[in-house]
Symmetry: D2
Subunit: 187 residues, 4 copies
């Protein structure tokens, strides 16, 4: 099973990037081939229907679409902004969703969030499910939200809390089995 | 693959019941074994934590849980009330979610709605995804919303609109493949 | 300004009832007349369209509607179940929304939640906004979610955390001003 | 009462721009002073926390914030993308929400959508409420969703359907009363 993984943040010191690295390690141990992308590789302007018609898709959106098409599934770690999904990620989904066939169709996905708050970004993930499922992505029902993430990581990048680390391990492993089963099926 | 199917409506002449029947026929043709339930079989009071502690679960909630446990997946056709999910169905989910292990965990699901409005109940389905996915159900990303349902059915119960009938056929078939793949996997 | 206040829980020792009492005290100090209801007064069966047609509305739904009609606004403290609104409360809204004119139309509201989790029930409140706003209620944008509520109250019923108590005071006071301005206007 | 009004679309022939013009006419007739903005005036890059720290806010975000601050309320007509809010608009909200005090706090708002589909963009508006209310905007509970908008307008820009035109008239007028009452209050 081949997975595209990225954090939906442009910050260099992004907590979502740290969380994503842990998920990627688990996915690889579980046998998945992971394409670890940086969201900055998909730089694109805000969506403009006239620009699409006159100039075609921006290169960042085309790059993202190619990487999605080459994968069976996607792992995204995304910040929450204003109790909702990141506008940056929604903008990327909006561009990609205009292509035919929609590159996200019949892919699988796992969503995660890291946040400095006690709520851990989970509200944003629930909103993020809507456009992804609307584009045909089968999302794993469980999601991982890391609260107080600024204090959650040890120096070696692992999680300080062993119970949380175990939950992450179980969830990513479950996703690899879930995504593998669906990648092998025609549905 | 074994499926529990019910319409989340107590009305005898429910449009959701008519829509459900079509989905059940397609599921059976696709090889699924379908347990066709009537929501009235799961009559239960509104949720009360004290009642649960003192008297245990009501028989309707226990019956629903048993039927869910015996199935690999669930097909639900549900009305939309007030731009949101039916309170009746949410109440049933609330009762069942209190049992351990949660009977809905690792099941799959397909959601449908019939409505007399032009919007077809799709807003309610998007809200309904939340508690089901929160309980661990892997929902098929596509959903079927039948608008103006009071005029949608022929005398033999089929859909008048052949394009819509084809979409329903494709969606239920896709769900059977989706649900079958996940039922055969450990995830 | 006249307010109907209730906790959407049937439990005797409900944390939402404790939180509601604090809000009622603040509302009264701010000059509001508060009708403090117990959700058990509005006992009603789960929604059934046939029952409505054949037997009319159940007495609990009629009682709730009368109390809403007599008020300018509503304060609700509601538990979160399965990342979503309480099915019990949604069921009550569904019954009341069938009456004409809809008793909730042009009322104002403030939503609160108490929860034993660290997330504090805020996800359920965001979902609860939808049917209430769909029924025409102008909800105060801010909401109060009390996390770890089992440890939040002192013996006299006040909040241990003074900063939180201050936030509750400010939010309820703001709602009284908000609701008062809208109650005095024709909109 | 002073209102900022814009369509969250960059397209020149945007249906949302046509719908917005009708709302602006009604608002002015009802006595409001309307600042009719073009979303292109607020051109800004996608959100980047590092950019904010190192270079400050982009000029488009600052311009939008100034226009919001100068107004009591906002009327937005926004397209729906992927069953959710426009990423472009969410991106703008994300930038503005980083400023202190948050320019949107204690403003009022009315949401509209025009769409070529039969669903009319209403799903996107329900999602859009979340970040706006999260930023402290008091939104009018009613929303206006124009379905099949490509056929909805007469040559003079008015709506062909008189019943719909009446509903728009009533809703915008109600918003002006709602927003005026809240603009005059301290809440």
């Amino acid at each position: 099973m081949k997975i595209l993984a990225f954090a939906a943040s442009l910050r260099r010191e992004s907590l979502n990037k740290k969380l994503l690295r842990l998920a990627i390690d688990i996915a690889r141990e579980a046998g998945a081939e992971v394409d670890h992308a940086d969201f900055a590789e998909f730089a694109m302007p805000i969506y403009d229907g006239d620009m699409q018609e006159n100039q075609g898709f921006p290169s960042g959106a085309l790059a993202l679409a190619e990487r999605i098409k080459a994968a069976d599934g996607i792992i995204i770690s995304s910040p929450e902004y204003n109790f909702s999904m990141a506008g940056t990620l929604k903008n990327a989904i909006d561009w990609v969703s205009r292509m035919r066939p929609i590159p996200l169709q019949r892919k699988t996905g796992l969503l995660m969030a890291a946040s400095t708050s006690m709520v851990g970004g989970i509200r944003g993930l629930w909103q993020l499910r809507v456009p992804l499922e609307g584009c045909g992505v089968a999302l794993h029902p469980d999601m991982f939200a890391l609260a107080a993430a600024q204090n959650a990581f040890a120096d070696d990048g692992s999680l300080n809390d062993q119970a949380l680390a175990g939950r992450l391990q179980a969830m990513v492993s479950s996703y690899i089995a879930f995504g593998g089963a669906l990648a092998a099926a025609r549905w």
